[in-house]
């Protein structure tokens, strides 16, 4: 089946949508231009994954979700992500693109921390949002899907941490697509001002095993001079959702950005995670784990670009492929001219559990500077039947043996994830995907 790549949503629809929500002019303007760009620009073109037949157009754009009055009403799948002492946490739950629950402690409010719906922030903190929104991070005109993102954005979070403010407890957002056909065009804008510190954790959840829809997610993360940001995500869209995920980091002098990504979607997924190490002595770790199952196709790119001197970038990704799933893991380390003493390291490992699964790891180092260190390791292999024999010879069933091998294979990354809550969430979600 050939899928139409043009959208049924035109300029008039988008203008109405903007008007209804009373959006500021600068943003209306971005949206209108984006509609044209979305028509003209090409789709992203991952080298080794055919996305031609993926669904990018069948979805419901304008939906809403009810407020959450009690956490008890949430499904189990969401509750496990929340853990204990929910009431005390700085947390937003987005339900069908609406903020259904939001809490930020008075203490953080007093310190000037902003944590709210991005559309609200456009009114209350318009200058800040406008300064960072799709400027130096992801551009509207990168491809058809980034343009479509700007045109149809229907959800988003703005998190701002002022200078020198250090937040200990993780700040969490749950994006829950309760409506099976609801599309999520979600934008996360995180700005950590100079010498601030924050841990942000996001979860994407849906249950549309049958009904098709799309998720188009852009995250822009700015770590200004000396800031420390830990960004954890567990993506867990159901089989019916086709996901485009674009997470972008901008790291200034002496700043650190740690990505901890659990790429656990059950549908087709195209994901790129690009970090620009702009400042001298900037540092980024991009750690990711994935489990593919069913017939899903996935394409992951982890890309760290070095501009700053003595900048350090480390990519670590492990993926397990089951059933008839296929995944490509691209690792790109790019050192620009002038980024002396930069260090670009990466490791990608793929384990295939079944005859029908496919996995590929492409390590790429692009270096335009002499005075650097760089390295890569990559492996793609099938589960060793002798290992399974060994485990089973102690009475463990084949399923349990595979489960142990999968957890074991992913453990070196999961264990390295700096955010405790993401570690335990991941273990839960992996557990759910293993069977």
């Amino acid at each position: 089946m050939a899928v139409d790549t043009q959208l049924p949503y035109d300029k008039e629809y988008v203008a109405n949508y903007s008007g209804k929500r009373n959006e500021p002019d600068w943003f209306k303007d971005i949206r209108q231009k984006a509609v044209d760009l979305a028509d003209d620009l090409p789709m992203p073109n991952p080298e080794k994954t055919r996305i031609k037949n993926w669904n990018f157009t069948d979805f419901e754009h304008d939906v809403s979700g009810a407020d959450i009055k009690s956490f008890d009403e949430l499904p189990e799948k969401i509750r496990v992500l929340l853990g204990d002492h929910v009431e005390e946490r700085n947390l937003i739950v987005v339900r069908n693109n609406n903020i259904a629950y939001a809490k930020l402690s008075d203490e953080l409010k007093e310190k000037g921390v902003i944590f709210e719906d991005i559309f609200t922030a456009m009114h209350e903190h318009g200058d800040l949002v406008q300064k960072y929104f799709m400027q130096d991070g992801v551009s509207v005109d990168e491809n058809k899907l980034t343009a479509r993102h700007a045109a149809l954005m229907n959800s988003g979070i703005f998190l701002y941490v002022p200078k020198n403010v250090e937040i200990e407890e993780p700040i969490q957002v749950i994006f829950w697509q309760e409506d099976d056909h609801a599309a999520l065009f979600n934008h996360v804008l995180l700005v950590a001002d100079q010498h601030s510190q924050v841990t942000y954790v996001e979860n994407y959840v849906s249950n549309n095993d049958e009904t098709e829809t799309v998720a188009n997610i852009v995250s822009e993360v700015f770590a200004l001079d000396g800031a420390k940001v830990s960004y954890g995500a567990v993506d867990n869209f159901a089989q019916g959702t086709t996901s485009y995920v674009n997470r972008r980091g901008h790291v200034e002098r002496d700043a650190t950005l740690e990505w901890a990504l659990g790429q656990m979607n059950d549908g087709h997924t195209l994901s790129e995670n690009v970090t620009n190490l702009v400042g001298d002595n900037s540092l980024s770790h991009a750690k990711a784990v994935s489990v593919g199952r069913g017939n899903q196709k996935q394409d992951f790119t982890a890309n760290i670009r070095h501009w700053g001197q003595a900048s350090e970038g480390y990519i670590l990704q492990h993926g397990v492929m089951k059933d008839n799933s296929a995944s490509i893991f691209n690792g790109i380390g790019k050192v620009e001219n002038g980024a002396t003493k930069a260090n670009a390291e990466q490791e990608s490992r793929v384990l295939m559990l079944s005859e029908g699964s496919r996995g590929d790891a492409n390590p790429i180092l692009l270096i335009d500077e002499d005075d650097v260190t760089a390295g890569h390791a990559a492996s793609v292999g099938r589960v060793d039947p002798i290992q399974l024999f060994y485990l089973m010879s102690r009475g463990i069933s084949q399923q349990e043996a595979e489960r142990l091998v999968i957890h074991g294979f992913l453990a070196p990354v999961v264990r390295e994830i700096p955010i405790e809550t993401v570690q335990s969430q991941l273990r839960e979600v992996i557990e759910g995907k293993v069977y």
Partner: protein
């Protein structure tokens, strides 16, 4: 009932189309310790692996029964649950899975659901076995066999044996790579298992191990068959005289598999 009985009858095994075992007959009963000896490449590990259900070995003829149950009909995990155990000559390394987690999964797999071993009881039992085998307690928290020395892997196999308490165990060259002290410790562990309810088949090249663990029966394998059986004195004779006298007695030129007498 005093122990289990493992019966191997006229077992023929092929690997990649080549016949390795050519009719092995052997019965092991609870309370008995058997030793299997024989030159390299004569089919000892093949016998051990085939009994446990190694995926590469194809049984072309013969039968295996454990207390009358058809072992060849069972999956690998079912064989273990029925009471079989194999300490492997070359145990696999399993990255990311700790020895302790693995052991607990193994024990629980042999118990009813809802009747899992309580964590404290498990730790207590494991600690006491670790002591017996003089294994550093940290090893239980290391990934299974990963980076273990040859001797550590062997001790780990015996740790598993002692924790799982099978009815019939096959120990494939459990003594290779062990220093003298480790050999004594491992033998002590195996001897602790001795009871009416435990039968054991020990594959070894050396009398040294049999000095510590006295076998009731000794068998010699050549060309994929058991060619001679006897008591402990047979092992002593092999130690001092080698295999030539048996080959002469039986008219065998080349003892390895694939050569016909």
């Amino acid at each position: 009932m005093a122990g289990s009985t493992l019966e191997i009858k006229d077992l023929h095994v092929e690997i990649e189309g080549e016949e390795i075992l050519k009719g092995v007959n052997l019965t092991i009963k609870g309370g008995e310790f058997h030793a299997v000896m024989g030159p390299n490449g004569t089919g000892k590990s093949t016998l051990a692996s085939a009994v446990m259900g190694h995926p590469k070995y194809e049984i072309t003829k013969g039968e295996i029964y454990l207390d009358g149950e058809d072992v060849l009909e069972m999956e690998v995990d079912e064989r273990a649950q029925a009471g079989l155990f194999l300490a492997m000559q070359y145990p696999s390394e399993i990255s990311g899975v700790t020895t302790s987690d693995f052991l607990r999964s193994s024990i629980n797999s042999q118990r009813e659901e809802g009747d899992e071993i309580p964590l404290m009881q498990f730790i207590k039992e494991m600690d006491s076995k670790l002591d017996t085998l003089e294994i550093d307690k940290n090893m239980a928290q290391r990934y299974l066999n990963e980076g273990f020395s040859g001797g550590e892997k062997k001790r780990n196999e015996i740790l598993q044996l002692m924790m799982l308490q099978p009815a019939i165990a096959i120990l494939d060259e459990i003594d290779s790579g062990l220093d003298i002290d480790a050999l004594k410790v491992v033998s002590k562990g195996i001897n602790e298992m001795r009871s009416e309810n435990f039968g054991c088949l020990i594959i070894t090249h050396y009398q040294r191990l049999l000095d510590y663990i006295t076998p009731d029966h000794v068998h010699v394998m050549m060309q994929g068959r058991i060619v001679k059986s006897g008591g402990p004195e047979l092992a002593h004779r092999l130690e001092s005289e080698g295999y030539d006298w048996i080959k002469e007695e039986l008219g065998i030129d080349d003892e390895t598999v694939g050569q016909e007498a």
